[in-house]
Symmetry: C2
Subunit: 200 residues, 2 copies
DNA sequence: ATAGTATGCTAACGTGTGTTAGCGATGAAT
DNA sequence: ATTCATCGCTAACACACGTTAGCATACTAT
């Protein structure tokens, strides 16, 4: 009889969650079936329900697991005594690290949150809105301090966050540059733009 | 008996395609059912098949319709006698315009192309890869001409294209700035970065 | 008015879905 | 060795899906 193989630090549920994230990323939440998931875990579909409540629960846990990490980081950064630009750079760096380290989960949260069902859906959307508002507030601080040029703050947030989402394509690419080089490039471009400037 | 209402310039199939794009955008390709589509068109599900071959066909036509427009623009821009930076600006502007004008279709192409089936899938992926290569080539020209700072060109392409995809969130936002202001902001940020520079 | 085509309807098909019930096997604790 | 909870299996459920067949209705052109 097959068994879900676990290592010391992760329960059977966590194994399922990891495989689910990978599958949801690959096929999309709706297209990934519980039978697919079962196969990738090495077990029959019904057996999954000894460890999880439902398919939706998997999506909840993935989405909120990631979202909570971002919220936590936001609180941390807001409290630091550094300039707005440095805060933004810290956040970007965190986003990139998260995307590289927890690729599947972050990707799934980004693209599949639509399939959450209420009350989780509204909850998620609220949290997202709040996060962006606080990000925009930091940008606006930078603008009043004249460290950031007078742009529309929420547009800037959109650009930053979605640009980072683009790491998805980097992650798949065969001829990748290193993660460090990628991070350096992104920050350089997002903070300084692509145009050559007098400063260097 | 219900009938699909058409205006002078669009066939019934085109009406279905438009509604399909809107539905695929809202729910995702897999989650949107033919019965949903039928209802939004004002007809029974089976009746759709007098006008279309299959659900997948709808996705093909949406994806390649948009992709072809981008490819065509790329060819046009490549042929113009302007600087690389101007070419990039022209392409960004086109992307933004397309996103604003054909929001649903562009969004669906961007997020739902995974559900294409071969040979359309490989075709699409090839075309996408080519487009990005040609975009990167323009950036590299700009780098050799020292109009663009020495960054990794393919990373820059990722950032640019994904940043534009972020208009999705703008499109939904209640308190939006105008399309012109958005475009100006985006180009300013992407070309010049967010940091205040000596140049102004 | 009539013929022919375009369009729509109802009914149904086969298949895949998430999930549950009930039972057998395994592992841990006494 | 026995007990008890944990875990996995088979079988099946009710339902939603994309799609087809066959027939009825509406429009178009003569």
């Amino acid at each position: 009889m097959a068994r879900i193989i676990i290592d010391k630090n992760s329960s059977r549920k966590e194994v399922i969650l990891t495989k689910a994230a990978s599958l949801f990323r690959e096929k999309g939440y709706k297209a990934a079936s519980m039978r697919d998931l079962a196969e990738s875990v090495g077990v029959e579909a019904a057996s999954l329900y000894n460890h999880i409540k439902s398919k939706t629960e998997l999506l909840h846990e993935i989405c909120f697991g990631v979202a909570n990490r971002f919220m936590h980081k936001m609180e941390e950064v807001e409290g630091e005594k550094i300039s707005p630009i440095e805060k933004i750079e810290a956040l970007i760096r965190f986003h990139i690290d998260e995307m590289i380290l927890h690729y599947e989960e972050v990707y799934v949260m980004d693209r599949e949150w639509k399939h959450l069902s209420d009350p989780y859906l509204s909850n998620f959307q609220n949290q997202r809105r709040m996060y962006r508002k606080r990000f925009a507030a930091i940008i606006e601080q930078g603008i009043s301090l004249k460290n950031i040029k007078p742009i529309d703050a929420s547009t800037a947030v959109l650009i930053l966050l979605h640009a980072i989402g683009g790491i998805e394509s980097w992650h798949r690419s065969t001829q990748k540059i290193s993660a460090e080089a990628l991070t350096a490039n992104m920050i350089s471009i997002l903070i300084g733009g692509i145009a050559a400037s007098a400063k260097g």
